[in-house]
């Protein structure tokens, strides 16, 4: 031991300064270097070491050595992983010897991997990277999936629906080597694609049709943003353009369609209608905007830097507030989808209100006479003391009389049917005419041409301060700027003629740029995550040091570079990913490979996944033959049983206004209302997120309440009955049900099982039709239906 140590130190001494600085550069400079100096500390020159940060010189009291050797739990550096013992030894020696700086230092500023622009590996296929890792790890890849499995996988991935039996058969028959490519093209061209992928985006955008909290008021036009997202995916809007529309559509584009992107900032939870807490709300909104923008587009969790310099990523608190200053002048607004119509709508609404006040007064006047008479008559039937109490004027009532009035008053209010019974024919006619006029006002009533959006209050912005310990409130003022760790600069003042601050434009252009190392990587990784159930970076909204390191960094880089070269086209990206052998593998692992990679991060097989909440509901409707594929429009409120509606914060008359047209109830789940205070139980139980915080990765739990809901809910019963009803008109009803739900012909065994089941259930329920319904209800609950593989 001793001898080895001596030899080691001897070698170290010679190369110490260069070696020591290289260790600092590699491990420390991303947070304590030229770009960012967290805690005020830089470690990139001898002077800087001497000067130190908030704790003073790092050379004093052995501070540097104590931090890297982790002697003090409150000062542990680097915060992620401990340095190698050999590196610690080098630095210890170096500091002990006086920490001499090497004569020549090239500042190459080693950066965190995701802060360096992605570079494509030329001529490399997706599979090259994956196969390489499998070979290194000696994991055998599973064979390709069958065509039947593949079409089901691809259709659920791109449409969130199952392929029909005829589609499956056609694909199985297509012997062309391009069959799968043709299939992907067909799937991507269908409008069902935008509906499926919009939902992924809406999870990230914490979308909801109401604002949340006690009153849970409607966000009346939120659905326009949902529809805009569906269209954006279907049109394959270039992602850089989409980012610009989202962050600064109002400043960068005249086309109202593009301006709708800013709805991203209007469809989240809010207390906009709780006026007394406006100051808190504004701060909460700013926090939400900064956090959501960074995590969704940059994969950075900047939220930590709200209170202090980020402890793991190179984000100083000051940067957090420079970013907050970008949104400081925000104001929610309505995007006019068509200027003249929007103005016309507001004018009509204005006149309508004026007329309504008048019509309502007229109705009240007609009824008043009758109400008074009825009330008088009712009072007269009560004892004298009650009568006296009511006849006394309000000021003269004794306390006892006041109590009597309070107690009995509600009883004397005339009910509407009493009023109508007493009313003269002439007054009834007057009333009818007024009511007709009111109905007339609403004959063509519909939502106006508006979409929820965001803009600035004007060219001037409220100021932004960094709340800092030791600095008297409000703290140090900061201007708008982009993250310094990524080379971001201050944002200049806008031209004098500008109507807005143009801060968000600067942010949008900076994010939606090929020079930004994160933007393309983050979205490419999200798409990969949705296809494989796990991203190349397993934490899709965290590319910082608390996130997971990429499993295949070069693959991610190559895909990202190609994605930008392809004009930021998501459809091309889907195709590139789905055409890989990795995507087309069977989910059945080759023998002995599961233990080597239980999480399947090396992709030797396809990861089987449960259908998500929306897919389950949609697939049940589809199997039952009841799915209504109508697109777009106001959120649909489907029938729920009273037990299912339990727990609503508002009366159901206002909170659950069931859509009159029943055919609407069977539309895709995307179009069902998403109240912030209430999730439909079937969706909730299958892990639909609550739309409060941005969700980048859904849970996929397996619980008994899921089984109860899918087994016993009215929804399943009704759909099973509908399928059984259609089936009963077929020559082989049971087989029809089987094929509809599982997309395949039953085996001989299964046929026997089916007949036995039907016979038993027919005997038990005394109804062949009920037995068929039970058969359908059962099959809608089997794993073959609930999982994609």
């Amino acid at each position: 031991m001793t001898l080895r140590f001596l030899v080691l130190s001897a070698t170290l001494a010679a190369a110490a300064p260069e070696q020591a600085v290289r260790i600092l550069e590699k491990n420390c400079w991303s947070c304590h270097g030229p770009a960012v100096a967290l805690s005020g500390l830089r470690l990139d020159s001898r002077d800087a070491l001497e000067k130190g940060g908030r704790r003073g010189s790092v050379l004093k009291d052995d501070l540097l050595v104590r931090a890297i050797s982790r002697q003090d739990a409150r000062l542990v550096m680097p915060p992620t992983d401990k340095l190698a013992n050999s590196d610690i030894a080098v630095l210890k020696e170096w500091v002990a010897a006086g920490a001499a700086w090497p004569k020549t230092t090239q500042v190459s500023s080693a950066k965190w991997w995701s802060f360096v622009k992605p570079v494509a590996t030329p001529n490399a296929s997706v599979d090259a990277f994956i196969d390489n890792q499998l070979a290194v790890r000696k994991i055998t890849a599973a064979p390709p999936a069958t065509k039947r499995t593949l079409i089901r996988r691809a259709t659920f991935d791109l449409h969130g629906l199952a392929p029909s039996q005829s589609e499956i058969e056609a694909f199985e028959k297509d012997a062309s080597p391009k069959a799968f490519e043709t299939l992907i093209d067909r799937l991507l061209a269908s409008p069902r694609y935008g509906e499926k992928w919009a939902k992924h985006w809406l999870d990230l955008a914490r979308y909801g049709d109401t604002a949340g909290f006690e009153q849970d008021p409607y966000s009346l036009y939120a659905w326009r943003y949902r529809d805009y997202i569906v269209r954006s995916f279907n049109e394959d809007k270039p992602y850089d353009r989409f980012v610009k529309e989202t962050i600064a559509g109002d400043e960068l584009f005249e086309d109202p369609e593009a301006q709708q992107g800013t709805g991203f900032y209007s469809v989240g939870p809010n207390r906009d209608m709780l006026y007394k807490v406006e100051d808190v709300n504004r701060i909460e909104s700013l926090t939400d905007f900064v956090d959501t923008t960074s995590s969704v587009f940059l994969g950075l969790s900047v939220g930590c830097a709200r209170c202090h310099d980020h402890k793991y990523d190179p984000i100083p608190q000051r940067d957090y507030y420079r970013m907050q200053a970008i949104f400081a002048p925000f104001q929610k607004n309505r995007v006019f989808l068509h200027y003249n119509n929007a103005r016309g709508y507001d004018l009509a609404e204005n006149t309508r209100n004026f007329k309504l006040y008048e019509y309502a007064a007229e109705i009240q006047a007609i009824k008043a006479t009758y109400q008074a008479a009825i009330r008088k008559e009712a009072i007269a039937k009560f004892p004298k003391d009650v009568q006296d109490a009511f006849h006394a004027s309000e000021d003269e009532r004794t306390p006892t009389q006041r109590r009597l009035v309070e107690q009995f008053s509600p009883r004397f209010n005339a009910r509407d049917n009493e009023v109508m019974a007493a009313m003269s024919a002439a007054d009834k006619e007057r009333l009818r005419r007024v009511e007709q006029r009111i109905v007339g006002l609403y004959a063509n009533y519909q939502p106006g041409p508006f979409s929820p959006g965001l803009t600035d209050v004007g060219r001037e912005s409220p100021r932004t301060y960094v709340p800092t310990k030791g600095v008297p409130p409000p703290g140090e003022e900061v201007g708008p700027g982009l993250l310094s760790a990524l080379g971001g600069k201050d944002i200049p003042d806008p031209p004098l003629t500008s109507l807005t601050t143009q801060r968000r434009s600067a942010l949008a252009n900076w994010i939606a740029s090929a020079d930004n190392p994160l933007t393309a990587r983050v979205i490419v990784n999200r798409v990969w995550h949705y296809h494989f159930g796990r991203g190349l970076v397993a934490t899709p909204s965290d590319f910082g040091s608390r996130g997971t390191a990429p499993s295949h960094p070069e693959l991610l880089d190559t895909l990202s570079a190609d994605f930008m070269r392809d004009g930021w086209s998501l459809k091309k990206l889907h195709k590139r990913i789905m055409l890989s052998a990795a995507y087309r593998r069977s989910s059945k692992p080759a023998a002995g490979t599961v233990d080597k990679d239980p999480e399947n991060q090396w992709l030797a097989r396809y990861s089987r996944r449960r259908l998500d909440a929306e897919e389950i509901r949609d697939a049940v409707l589809q199997a039952a033959g009841t799915l209504n594929t109508k697109m777009y429009g106001r959120p649909v409120v489907p029938v729920q049983t009273p037990e299912e509606l339990y727990g609503m914060s508002q009366g159901l008359g206002n909170a659950w206004v069931v859509t009159a047209d029943k055919a609407e109830h069977n539309r895709r789940t995307l179009y069902m209302i998403s109240r912030r205070n209430f999730r439909m139980p079937l969706l909730e139980v299958f892990d639909r997120p609550d739309g409060v915080l941005s969700c980048s990765r859904r849970e996929s739990s397996t619980t008994a309440p899921q089984s109860l809901s899918l087994l016993n809910s009215k929804f399943t019963q009704q759909q099973a009955a509908a399928l059984a009803e259609t089936a009963s008109r077929q020559s082989d009803p049971a087989r029809f049900i089987f094929e509809r739900i599982l997309g395949r012909v039953p085996s001989n065994d299964e046929r026997t099982m089916t007949s036995e089941f039907l016979a038993k259930q027919t005997a038990l329920t005394s109804s062949a039709q009920t037995a068929l319904t039970e058969f359908a209800r059962g099959l809608l609950n089997v794993n073959e239906f609930l999982y994609v593989e």
Binding site: L711, L764, V782
Partner: protein, 463 residues
């Protein structure tokens, strides 16, 4: 979850039958070891929904009576805002109820709680709770999850996540209310924790869990047939996919669902209780029947190993504590009448069953009510100083902690936040609130966020 094959292999290596049974149930809600020896195994949280007036129940303020009808002196009202009244203009109002010294300890409780007064020596009263949200929904979220914005896991979810459940046939976290929560169901959601830790609502009647009952017209035999069909199909499917334990877990989930169909209705069947017990809770009496049943159910659930039972009192539109806006006297008389006897019965009954030592009972509300009058007869929302009490779990009762100022406005002595309370509750359950974490949005999230330094477990235990 373990796959069958793993189980058999493990069993072959000499695990006893008991361990096998445990393994069969190993899942997200199987029992987990706490950080250290717990005082409480279970929690019954009695949440008075709508806001209970502290100065009329557990925090006597003679000064309010003395200066009845006068505005607050000096700058007392500056800087406070609430839902409707203006603290600078509204007038003080003395409590219409007398306070009595109760039990051996002489703890002061108002005449609103004649039954609970018998239990005074069990109650540890915290008179110095405070918060910063004066609207119902944010305040309810704050009290349940530590944040006035929705989306964070509730206390019950954290308890279920940290400790699992002793009974796999019932949910780990059960909620009972009358439905109309001002916060919506967000008050008992699991937030970013997996959905399995969410509060499961138990409803009245024979089918306490949503979708528990088989479809109409489908008898038990028929239901079993259909479940067998599912099981047969699933087992054939699984035979070729044995490496995937999730598929096996879902097969088990259907069996568990079936067992729940059997066990849950039994758990809520209070006809099994003696007449005397039912009477103790006020079951059958018009005023106390509803909450009496819920309290009795809470005891039955805790007895069966449910980790966390959350009862909400006053969640009917037009029948909640918040009716005190217009009518303090009427609302509090009615709401106390409905809950006093059931709560006292719960404490007594838990004690009689030997469960109080291991069950923590918490009584709280989203905020107190203004010591100033709203209109002629009411009190408004008041989050700046109010009362919570705890009992059971080895807590030394008959005492109070902290104080509000002379007028009951602000918590001034030992002010306690919701984080301090939650840290204490977790400690009693055997968990260190700084170590119960879940990684989300790149942070190791905690129920107490970065707070909880005002934990008061030692005081509760009289240590």
């Amino acid at each position: 979850m373990y796959s069958r094959r793993q189980l058999l292999e493990t069993a072959g290596k000499g695990f006893g039958a008991l361990a096998l049974a445990d393994l069969m149930q190993a899942g997200p809600t199987s029992v987990k070891a706490p950080h250290f020896a717990p005082r409480a195994k279970n929690v019954i949280f009695l949440f008075m929904h709508g806001g209970v007036s502290h100065v009329d129940t557990f925090d006597p303020k003679p000064s309010l009576t003395k200066y009845n009808g006068q505005p607050l002196p000096g700058s007392f009202g500056e800087g406070l805002i609430t839902s409707r009244i203006d603290f600078r203009k509204a007038l003080m109002r003395g409590s219409p109820w007398e306070f009595h010294r109760c039990g051996q300890s002489g703890l002061e409780i108002s005449a609103l709680y004649p039954h609970l007064s018998d239990c005074a020596d069990d109650l540890a009263v915290i008179r110095s709770c405070y918060g910063d949200a004066f609207d119902h929904a944010p305040a309810i979220y704050l009290r349940s999850s530590g944040s006035q914005f929705p989306g964070r896991p509730s206390l019950g979810s954290w308890a279920a996540y940290g400790l699992g459940s002793e009974n796999q046939n019932l949910p780990a976290f059960v909620v009972m209310s009358d439905g109309a929560m001002k916060s919506g169901a967000g008050a008992y959601h699991s937030g970013y924790l997996p959905a399995v830790y969410q509060g499961t609502v138990f409803r009245g009647g024979k089918s306490p869990v949503l979708h528990l009952a088989s479809p109409e017209g489908i008898g038990e035999k028929s239901q079993r047939e259909t479940l067998d069909l599912i099981a047969r199909m699933n087992k054939r499917h699984f035979a070729e996919r044995e490496e995937d334990s999730v598929l096996d877990a879902r097969i088990n989930a259907y069996e568990l669902a079936f067992r729940m169909q059997a066990e849950a209705p039994e758990a809520v069947d209070i006809s099994k209780e003696s007449e005397a017990t039912q009477k103790l809770y006020g079951v059958g009496e018009p005023m106390t029947d509803d909450f009496g049943r819920k309290c009795l159910l809470a005891r039955r659930l805790v007895e069966r190993g449910v980790r966390f039972v959350q009862l909400y009192h006053g969640t009917n539109i037009g029948d909640d504590w918040d009716d005190a806006h217009l009518d303090l006297h009427g609302s509090h008389t009615k709401m106390c009448k409905k809950s006093d006897q059931p709560i006292a019965a719960l404490l007594k009954d838990l004690k009689a069953h030997g469960l109080l030592d291991t069950t923590l009972v918490v009584w709280s509300s989203e905020f107190g009510r203004t010591p100033l009058a709203e209109g002629k007869n009411g009190r408004d929302h008041h989050p700046y100083g109010f009362t919570t009490w705890m009992a059971g779990a080895g807590i030394k009762g008959g005492r109070f902690l902290g104080a509000t100022d002379e007028f009951g406005l602000r918590a001034v002595d030992q002010p306690k936040t919701v984080h301090d309370m939650n840290a204490s509750i977790l400690r009693l359950l055997g968990m260190d609130h700084t170590k119960l974490t879940f990684r989300y949005q790149s942070r190791d999230q905690r129920l107490t966020d970065v707070h909880g330094e005002g934990e008061f477990t030692n005081w509760l235990l009289g240590a």
